[in-house]
Subunit: 350 residues, 3 copies
């Protein structure tokens, strides 16, 4: 029976450990089509080879979040099969575009450990990276997860909490997007006249659209990424969980929010970095997701006259409109219905 | 908040206006696979590159209705986000085959306007066309939709009702299908011995098969086309609509009916034109769709010894068999359960 | 009405009859992506072109069971539209790898007939084969199905029961897998250190993971294969069936079990043959599937130092864990919940 893995427990991790994950994955045009069918994304660069070629790409790059989900999924079997919760993300950078035909593999270094006072769980901090078939890093990110202990009597490891940047500095952005012939970027075809310069810090946008989650959709998405966390697929076992039903993969909500954000941010075609992200509440089939965004910061990129970046905070909520911009109420947590709080950088044409 | 569009209202349209739509879309083999998974189409020309090559195509063309849905979806954001109902289609011609790798873009001219007597809604007549990356028109069609007014007090525009042909004349058909080596068309492999000459005017065919609609299926289909009409995706908002639930995109029913029609029309591989179409009743997840067809007319195509066309009327119904050919009862409307009445031309080998 | 087929009945079959099936099907990268989204398969050879190339493939071959389902589906319209039950499989050999771009066609010979004593149904034994566009046999298998008689008064045909091998002899295996540079097979990337030599006869593996079936998923899978058996799609007609609801295509369960088996058999990348298989009980949407496997036999392949084969028996069950290895209780049938009993050969690196 030991040939079938049950995943690592808290006491199986050590700071400095590096794990090379199974299984490499070639990204196909079929993956891209499924991603469109699952989220309905419409960013021009990713939707049309002709649009992408006009501005200097050889063809449409693969959606950044599809790359994220594929790399993330590779880490699940080694890191988070026995996770209680995915607590947060940070220092996530998209460092090279990915195209159909590229093969992605992933590895992870354990960078921190902190046992919880109950001795039943602990927090594992990891830095993961995805590389293509040429060994080029396409994505790296840190995440921290609460993982069960197999045996509470095992002594706690030395606490190591990594020193994480509060966000990705603008100087580190731009690698994921080649220098573009931005004069050929057609904003009418892209769906909005609003370029980088048209957004102001503090501006809030209710993305207005909404999407209701179905079991078949989140399961197909999560399997497409080859994410194997059982909580998303096993209704029988979940019946006796605290939720009583299948849990939607948190990344599914991030992709829904990003697709909804097209309405208001149609030219924000490239996700350059994720500064911080947290899943405020779990989601289930039947939930209807809405989203709004606030512009936190604007930055130019050194030597780049083609694109510049906006730092956005996108909040997703369930079963309520985002007309009144639900969010964090200071120390009192979040407004009812908020499910996602994501702080990230997007690139737009100047 | 104005950056996120809510769509045009009746008073935002003017006859003669031309709208260039976002977002261009490259058609991939993944789109074709999803279309098969969603409808189960089996026409030999579209199913097999080898079959298509044997009769002179470079490879399988993309299913005509997939092209229709992709072009149609591009128009939704500018035309019908605030539509109450999609009233009808006409003058729809498939003018050039589309292949995997082609990029489709769309534009629309407003050709008619008529405010309703309630001053709350009006009918907008539009002619839309889809072009490929070489600027070649692949599809054009007229549709008319009832659209809400933002402000009932705005005066009505001058009524302009376009003069539409009752159907597409046979002389205009055939562009969408290259001249074929029809001697190499293998009817056994295609699934039926019945060629064009085997169908008689007045002949009725019950397609016998049936398919039950799931929420995940119609949502994935509609998002695949990048159709953004919120009524298909937002269960929460739809709760307070007159239907109480998500509405299935009408084109989804057309594609189901077309796939069902394979059983009885296996050699009708090319949809050459749609003369007229109306969605008689709305459809919802859980509905089981059946269909039957009648041959209305037969026509040869000038200079074409390879193919000829049948004018068909296909009726789709829900939650009942089509054994008794439900349809229109003169002036009294339709028999119970009828959801679609489609009048179109298909090409078959002679 | 005769143009729309209703399928053959028992009295329409004769031993020796050969049927060339409609419709050929080109396999695309989109089909492969959908197959991943539907089952979540993770075998390295099929998941990564780079992994496949490292060991000598030109690129990833298509999953063997996807090939099986596509070939099987072609036979349904001619063989089993009026089947009461799919009774069993045997002598199934995967004889050549299939790659994206290949076109599959199928034909079937009737090799046996036995009318049941009730004179209302009979058993039809068939040998089907799938060929690629070069005429190379990629797959062959025998199956036997119970088919309805149209007219019970038609006299019974002469009983012919084919002499079937109890399993596929190891000498017949290996054609479906080219000779590989097995030194380049990276077991870490593949997800398990366990090679052929690490499995012992009698060893049992609980695959631990589980997946809950959704209507949209099994329908999309079955339509992807172009399997047209109405019982899978028509909820309305199924309401009055003995089950009261749509029946899941048996092959869907085989693919779920195979994907679950990755956890414990990550290096068993090629399905070389199916010796015997039976669907012990029907499955429906909502069922949660689990699986376990036993090693029945080990064999080397003549002249092959790269791979060797294990004969496995995989049991799938529903709505129960496989921790206690549910199976056959001698003559008393199966333990509660067992739905599939599959005896097959897989190839692993030595």
């Amino acid at each position: 029976m030991e040939k079938a893995g049950r995943g690592r427990y808290f006491e199986d991790f050590a700071v400095g450990q590096v794990l090379r994950h199974a299984v490499p994955r070639t990204v196909s045009g079929g993956d891209v089509a499924l991603y469109t069918a699952l989220y309905g994304g419409r960013f021009g660069v990713q939707s049309s080879d002709a649009f992408a070629r006009a501005i200097g790409y050889e063809r449409s790059p693969v959606d950044d979040l599809l790359v994220f989900h594929i790399v993330f999924a590779r880490t699940v079997g080694d890191i988070s099969l026995n996770a209680v919760a995915n607590l947060g993300y940070g220092e996530c950078r998209f460092r090279a575009p990915v195209f159909v035909g590229d093969t992605l593999a992933a590895s992870t270094e354990i960078i921190g450990l902190k046992e919880n006072s109950n001795a039943r769980t602990g927090i594992v901090y990891v830095r993961s990276s995805g590389v293509n078939q040429r060994g080029q890093v396409v994505l790296e990110f840190v995440r921290w997860v609460m993982v069960q202990k197999r045996d509470p009597s095992v002594p706690a490891p030395k606490t190591v909490i990594p020193d994480l940047a509060p966000g990705v500095a603008p100087e580190l952005l731009g690698e994921g997007c080649p220098v573009l012939d931005i004069a050929n970027y057609d904003t009418t075809l892209a769906g909005s006249p609003d370029r980088w310069g048209d957004y102001g810090v503090g501006e809030r946008i209710d993305h207005f659209d909404a999407t209701t989650i179905e079991e078949a959709e989140h399961q197909m998405a999560t399997r497409l990424y080859q994410n194997t966390a059982r909580v998303h697929f096993d209704a029988l076992a979940q019946k006796s969980s605290r939720f009583g039903r299948r849990l939607v993969y948190g990344g599914h909500i991030i992709s829904i929010a990003r697709a909804l954000s097209f309405n208001g941010l149609a030219n924000a075609f490239h996700l350059a970095a994720i500064n911080a992200g947290s899943h405020v509440a779990p989601c289930f089939a039947g939930d209807t997701i809405t989203a709004w965004s606030e512009v936190l910061e604007r930055a130019e990129l050194a030597g780049r006259g083609d694109i510049a970046v906006l730092r956005l905070r996108t909040i997703a909520a369930k079963d309520r409109s985002c007309e009144k911009f639900p969010g964090r109420r200071g120390d009192k947590g979040y407004d009812d219905g908020v499910v996602l709080d994501l702080d990230y950088w997007v690139a737009l044409p100047r």
